[in-house]
Symmetry: C2
DNA sequence: GTGAAAGCGCTAACAC
DNA sequence: GTGTTAGCGCTTTCAC
């Protein structure tokens, strides 16, 4: 076999990475042929392809996608921005996204806002700077600057976890207000009249509350008690909140929580205090997390799927990337009440 | 018609993004000056800087970090590979990583292996192809190919969640075997003699089990029962597993779980069956997750911090990026037994 | 089927 | 302080 002057030496040198040029030289072809072997192997003769492939393997060549992205204007990177990855609902969405995207060689860049719109804007700018092929946002409420940057960048965007009449581009979610209303209707239907809502004040939590309140008021029941807890709350907040509620509003007969984790915290507190659920007080959660059916009593909740949101989002993005027209840019995944023992 | 420069300001043109050149032309300077305004503003005269900055803002210029990364060989991207983002322990690590890294303008690329070493290898190659500045791995067990690729790439690597004498590069974790041993010692010390372990068969779960077994055998107690459950298990698996254990091994007086989630599942099952914990059977978890102190009875567990692992990992990486020498490439975060009601 | 030329948008030297 | 000259490693277009 003949090779041009010492081109090998690629062994374990952190000095310079192996390039297409190196492989091309070793294989005695031009670098464009190496490129074809990797991207469009069917356009290369079998013999050439085999030889090039063997050199790629032996030299440990890994294409520089940075250079590729710069030249092709496609990075094959999608960015996802969530309030926090610690909350299992968002973690599930991210899991679904990452799973689906990686099937097609796309990678996921992750950003956390801590529920701050400013942080979101900063992340959007950073991700646009990295020329991501698509961007996934949580919620539908964003700063004017975010919208403007996204518009200017002209990349596919998917908003998630909510619904709106004015999406930036695409949307995968469900109607939080309607879901809250459905829960309100359900609780009223079960005979509860003195309701309360415990949740954080993010836009979706607020929508769930107002939906529930609208339903309750429509039925002529009294205005629900609204207990606000910090954003990104967990079990502990649920325990504490139900504690204050029981103390300050002993007449309340049913509580709707903005998610299952805080509802579960409340359920655990009720067990500890030997308060009978739902006889003394009914509890209802949101999201149907893994925890919901497992606590005692099992939680009535609103079924939605964070994982499905991730999968659908990925599919819509991939369709766009593949040049397909997305006929339905808004995907309403809906919700349903799951009745269990806690109500 | 010839290709025309396109100097106009970016109103909402998806055609071509604003470049340094565009800004430079508008401001009447060379593009390198724009570059300086962004990267080393102190090297530009205040007047020039102000003028350039105003054009950057008005034109909505966002630097192309792809091009910058190609030229500078620094992408300011770190990749993290975890078994699954759905498990809160890993989510916490990722949260810590992302928080700390973003403070310095670094972004996080996320990959999930589903506990497969092959997937890990594929991800490592993909991330190296994207020329990430650093790579974070979960665990210390990797394919030969992973190690070799990482060696050749010569980038900073941090292995996490475990300890080893032969790290690839840096390490932030704790000794799973010793932690398991400590729990074994503790349970023996409390008078339990017929122990069991319930957990998944990932390397760290296995280490926790063998550690616990070693301790138990050293004390002359009998070989612990070992119940294996699927990787990535949640509450449900804990319930099911404790069910089979109670049926098949009614003599067992204490169970050590490979994490708090499955332990909590078991605790919930015990509540439901009205089995008294710890009188009839003692339960101990691992990781001191948020759930551990909240279930009834509160879980004895091994305290470690996934979030801290993320923070320390990010700090070591950043130190390396900033050219500092990391004196302690191995960071043992330790562990401690937290005694609660369940034992 | 294969190759040459021309960038992609930026930073790293080195000049002025 | 500011500009000039070279690339970074790849894909694209068009030629053969």
């Amino acid at each position: 076999m003949k090779r041009k002057p010492n081109t090998e030496t690629a062994a374990a040198a952190p000095a310079r990475a192996v390039t297409k040029e190196d492989v091309a030289r070793a294989a005695g072809v031009s670098h464009i042929t190496v490129s074809r072997v990797i991207n469009t192997p069917e356009k290369v003769s079998p013999e050439t392809r085999a030889r090039v492939e063997s050199f790629i393997a032996s030299m440990g060549y890994i294409p520089n996608m940075l250079a590729g992205g710069l030249a092709s204007r496609r990075t094959r990177i999608v960015a996802a921005i969530v309030p926090t990855i610690s909350h299992s609902i968002f973690a599930e969405t991210v899991r679904g996204l990452s799973e689906k995207l990686s099937e097609q060689g796309y990678q996921l860049l992750l950003g956390q806002t801590n529920y701050s719109e400013m942080e979101e804007t900063a992340l959007v700018e950073a991700f646009i700077g990295r020329r991501v092929d698509g961007l996934v946002l949580t919620g539908v409420q964003h700063t004017a600057r975010t919208r403007q940057r996204l518009k200017a960048a002209g990349i596919p965007v998917v908003e998630t976890w909510d619904l709106t009449d004015t999406p930036i581009d695409m949307l995968v979610g469900f109607d939080n207000h309607a879901a809250g209303r459905a829960m309100g209707d359900y609780l009223i239907g079960k005979g509860y009249r003195r309701l309360a809502f415990i949740g954080g004040e993010d836009p979706r939590g607020i929508a769930r509350f107002t939906g529930m309140r609208d339903a309750v008021l429509a039925h002529g029941a009294r205005e629900p008690v609204h207990i606000k807890i910090p954003l990104g709350s967990f079990l502990r907040s649920g325990r504490d909140a139900i504690g204050s509620l029981l103390r300050d509003h002993p007449e309340v007969d049913a509580v709707f929580f903005s998610n299952d984790v805080i509802a579960a915290g409340a359920a655990l507190e009720c067990i500890r205090r030997e308060i009978r659920v739902p006889e003394q007080i009914a509890l209802a959660g949101f999201a149907n997390l893994e925890l919901a059916p497992e606590v005692t009593p099992a939680l009535t909740t609103v079924q939605i799927s964070g994982h499905q949101i991730g999968l659908n989002t990925a599919e819509m993005l991939l369709a766009r990337f593949n040049g397909q027209h997305v006929a339905q840019p808004v995907c309403d995944l809906g919700y349903s009440i799951i009745e269990r023992e806690s109500t």
